[in-house]
């Protein structure tokens, strides 16, 4: 494992961790109200920072501002995931008992949904709506156009634009 120019000596990293770990956990806990999640995210934040060698210098100069920025971003992702998971459970809960998929299928579908959600991230509201209706509800374009108050041509453009976006976002 080569240390790059921008990388920090190991003891600096250790100091960064030592000086700020408790602070960051407390900072996250105050915002999340849950110790276990806050501790997990604090850990993730340090891993993120330590892996991004180029940024370690910056992290060392303004450690708490930097850590808070990274942690804030992770927290936003965390809540987005939770809101998707929650919505997913709500939908599952509306299914009749005998149509509830096995836990394994539940888990696979959840992962796929989280992945798709990431892919759709950044689309405009109408573009996303049009795409969801066309793709997942198989609604005819004419009906989508009416629902969104746009022309048929625009619906087609929306679907194409969303697809380009997905192709770019897909890992």
């Amino acid at each position: 494992m080569g240390m790059t120019e921008a990388g920090a000596p190991a003891q600096d990293v250790a100091t960064l961790y030592h000086d700020n770990h408790r602070w960051l956990s407390a900072w996250l806990r105050a915002r999340m109200g849950n110790k276990a999640d806050a501790d997990d995210l604090a850990q993730d934040t340090f891993i993120r920072v330590l892996c991004a060698h180029a940024n370690v210098q910056m992290a060392l100069r303004e450690p708490r501002a930097y850590l808070a920025t990274v942690a804030g971003r992770l927290m936003a992702n965390f809540y987005r995931r939770q809101s998707i998971e929650r919505a997913y459970l709500e939908v599952l809960a509306t299914l009749p008992q005998d149509e509830i998929p096995s836990l394994e299928t539940q888990a696979l579908m959840k992962e796929a949904l989280l992945e798709i959600d990431q892919m759709l991230d950044g689309l405009g509201i109408k573009v996303k709506q049009a795409f969801l209706l066309a793709q997942f509800e198989e609604m005819p374009y004419a009906q989508i156009a009416e629902r969104l108050g746009v022309s048929l041509r625009t619906v087609k453009n929306y679907v194409a634009r969303a697809m380009v976006h997905c192709c770019e976002m897909m890992p």
């Binding site: 998707i84 809960a93 836990l103 394994e104 969801l132 066309a134």
Partner: protein, 324 residues
């Protein structure tokens, strides 16, 4: 994107492919459209590549039935509820501090209760709905100035309706030994633990006031959860996924530590349900039936590296799966 490829060329191929995709998806796509698309596809390898990329995206979509995916993905990010910290109402006083004791004389009130593994639903005098979870007990205390519920044990879900009494708008209040929870909206869960109470707001908002607290009541909004004892309330935080699902007979959990999961399931099951302490780090996600906890345990054993050993119907232990 593959290295060394002309970025512009391939990104415009993707755009063309997406355009074709949108055309062929249309309800009025014709045979002629399909032939022209085929011509485009055969025209050059980068078109084929771009089309393959679209198919990759499509195959991810196919992993989830559309009817299920659409409402989930239409979710707006609900961070607001959490990041905005507790809003505190300007109005307080200790006026209600003695309420619990005053209202507690049992002979005045109609009592409702459920045994282990039972749940029940009741329509109250004002049309509000009251759900009792397993092992719960309440007394109803509807009076001229308040629609009150006294939570004695367990957990309830309340769905309030506007007051029916002519000319009155009596507040709807759930009392626990630790304080009062006043409905400012429609749907919430109150649970009594040994030394504290908790509230989850499923819709609208509630106001929580610990019995002995001099502080202003804490307002809790949709999606939040709070824990309080008779002296103080904790900070409102985001409630776990699946809150209140027990009303539908389901236990819905995301990433719940196994010990918590077992404790939750035990509430609905007669007898002893234990687990091997080595399993404590395991996290459980999924939707489980509450009316058939044997089935729930079987589902657990199907999906996770665990097995269930039962001596009788009343004694079961969750153990690590035996090595094959």
């Amino acid at each position: 994107m593959k290295a060394g490829q002309g970025v512009n060329k391939s990104s415009s191929s993707i755009e063309e492919a997406a355009f074709w995709y949108a055309c062929l998806q249309a309800e009025d796509a014709t045979e002629q459209d399909r032939r022209r698309w085929q011509g485009w596809l055969d025209a050059c390898p980068s078109n084929r590549q771009a089309w393959a990329r679209i198919q990759e995206v499509r195959s991810l979509f196919d992993k989830v039935p559309g009817r299920l995916a659409s409402p989930v993905l239409a979710q707006k990010t609900s961070r607001r509820a959490v990041l905005r910290s507790a809003v505190v109402l300007v109005c307080a006083g200790l006026a209600g501090a003695g309420t619990w004791r005053q209202l507690s004389s049992p002979e005045l009130h109609a009592g409702l209760r459920t045994g282990t593994g039972e749940r029940s639903r009741h329509v109250l005098a004002d049309g509000s709905l009251l759900y009792l979870n397993t092992g719960s007990a309440v007394d109803l205390a509807f009076g001229p100035s308040e629609r009150g519920i006294l939570l004695r044990a367990g957990e309830i879900l309340v769905e309030t309706r506007p007051d029916k009494l002519p000319g009155a708008a009596r507040p709807f209040v759930v009392h626990t030994p630790h304080g009062r929870v006043r409905a400012l909206g429609t749907r919430f869960v109150v649970r009594l633990h040994g030394d504290h109470s908790s509230v989850q707001v499923l819709q609208d908002a509630v106001e929580v006031r610990p019995l002995l607290s001099m502080a202003q009541p804490v307002r809790l909004s949709e999606g939040q959860e709070i824990v309080f004892d008779s002296h103080s309330a904790g900070a409102p935080h985001m409630q776990p996924a699946g809150a209140g699902d027990w009303r539908e007979g389901r236990l819905s959990v995301v990433n719940m530590p196994l010990p918590d999961f077992i404790a939750e399931l035990s509430r609905h099951r007669k007898g002893y349900l234990g687990f091997d302490s080595g399993l404590a780090p395991l996290r459980v996600s999924g939707v489980f039936p509450l009316d058939d906890t044997d089935e729930a345990l079987a589902m657990l054993a199907d999906a996770f590296p665990v097995r269930v050993r039962s001596f009788t119907r009343y004694y079961a232990t969750v153990l690590p799966a035996s090595k094959p």
